[in-house]
């Protein structure tokens, strides 16, 4: 065997433990469990070794190897998700509420499970099983996605569940979608007027659900001043929304929903 494949193979094997850990963390983060998680793990490792370890051959040494592998695997998990479920991704609302909300949203809206089925798979952080009532309350806080399977109603009816569709509701629903799209466009335009670093800070914190500490660590910034900086960026964003024609009340409501 020529020296280069030896070196790449050794590099892969030397980092196999880290690779397994990263794969496990990202699978969990994206709600991949059981057989699906195992399938992703095998698929990802094969992608890393295919074509004579091409991924490792591209490594230029500009970063730490574990950071590089982490980013590569983060790209792979996104590719895997798109292959299997199209452009599904957890909502920002779910990400802000934590891993449990992400998993619940994924199980119900992406995988089409009922609340009972999701409850079977989910446990609270203390390991205790969650009740339907707890899960229903959590699900109500998340935006409705796609066409979920009907929520099973047992002895405890779910208050606040969507009413059956009627003609008026369909029209109202379409208008709501259009308003949401318009607000989203206005928000993106206003965001684009901030500096790139401020945009990234707000995206990572509010859109992707990272804590301020994680954002600070990611961008090499001091954590304490970052809180104030985020407040100022939001104030600037509100001003940009108003300058873009969004009323003060609508801008406040939009941001309140976004940063809630």
């Amino acid at each position: 065997m020529s020296p280069e494949p030896d070196r790449l193979e050794a590099l892969f094997l030397a980092n196999l433990g880290a690779i397994e850990r990263i794969i496990g963390t990202l699978a969990w983060r994206h709600g991949l469990t059981g057989d699906r998680a195992e399938d992703f793990a095998s698929w990802a490792k094969l992608r890393l070794i295919e074509n004579g370890y091409a991924v490792l051959r591209k490594f230029r040494g500009e970063s730490a190897i574990t950071t590089y592998l982490t980013v590569v695997i983060a790209m792979l998990v996104r590719e895997y998700r798109v292959q299997h479920w199209g452009r599904w991704r957890p909502s920002a609302a779910a990400r802000r509420r934590g891993e449990l909300a992400v998993r619940l949203e994924t199980l119900v809206y992406r995988d089409g499970l009922t609340l009972d089925e999701a409850a079977h798979l989910l446990r609270s952080p203390t390991g205790a099983p969650l009740t339907r009532r707890e899960l229903a309350a959590m699900l109500r806080e998340l935006p409705a996605r796609g066409r979920p399977r009907p929520v099973e109603v047992g002895a405890e009816p779910l208050t606040g569940a969507p009413a059956p569709s009627q003609a008026d509701d369909l029209v109202a629903g379409a208008e709501a979608v259009e308003q949401r799209d318009a607000a989203d466009r206005a928000l993106r335009t206003a965001l684009g007027r901030l500096s790139p670093e401020e945009q990234v800070i707000l995206r990572l914190h509010y859109w992707e659900g990272l804590s301020v500490a994680d954002v600070a660590r990611a961008l090499g910034l001091e954590q304490k001043p970052l809180y104030r900086r985020i407040e100022r960026a939001l104030a600037t964003l509100r001003r940009h929304l108003e300058e873009g024609g969004v009323t003060r009340e609508a801008a406040q409501a939009l941001l309140a929903e976004w940063v809630a």
Binding site: L13, A14, I49, S63, A64, R78, P196, Q199
Partner: protein
Amino acid sequence: MTRPVDAERLAALLDGSLSGAEREEVLAQLAASDELAEVCADAVAALAPPAGVPAHEPRRETPVIPLRPPRPRAWLRRSAGWLAAAAAVALLVLSPWVRGRFVAPGASTPARYVALLERPEGLPEGYELRPWGATRAAGEPLGADARAVRVGARLAQLELAARGRDTAVSALARDVAALLGDVPGGGAAAAVYREVERRAGEPAERLAPLLAQGSAAASGVAGAQGVALGTWLEVARVAARRRDAGFFGEGATASALALAERRAAQRMSARAPLARLRAALAGAAPRWDEASAALTELLAALAR
């Protein structure tokens, strides 16, 4: 012209190793791309240690393990003859002390246990490699604990066979790959042993890093305790066959017997051979034939 942000540039951003201008360039692309922002967030989440728990894998470069030993310098090659002779004398004198301690840092469990043998290479002549009997009927499941013990035993046999350049390396590696391939998530570990099978004729020092990595992966997949127990039992069988008292004087023996006790508590068939093993090893003069038979029976009981 702006360079697109690939995996390494994004990694360099997260490592803080970009220049000011490069950083601005990457941030601008990150701000404009949902996909990049999502990948960045995932990477940050995976790199951050869980709250309250120290990171298991610190963010540092992992040294590459060369698969070929470095070429010795010229003066060392010229001196090799008398150095080797001096080393052999020293080892003879220090043997009991050295044997328990001269194990390469980072060596795998099989390598560590095998290194405790007086003769740490090669399988005994006419040795039974499958004490747990014939392969199970197709579809008959093998329990996780039994599989782990079986994997451990095979790893020990593989280590010995590789050191002795035994032709059994190929078949043993194939068997380990098959055992690991049946375990969820065991594909990558199995792939390592298929590679060992492919390179079965190579010298031990070239296979050693691959065996070390494979052993670590196999422990992670099949269960570290069970694998370690299987490894010790198999090496102990060889030690008993060769009447190697020094092996059983090591601390690993007490740990392994304690683990075997816990496993035997759940398996009736393991209790009697374990008791006979303890009896055979007790006292100043071990009863080697009884110890060898008891170890074989104990391994068989725990690997079924």
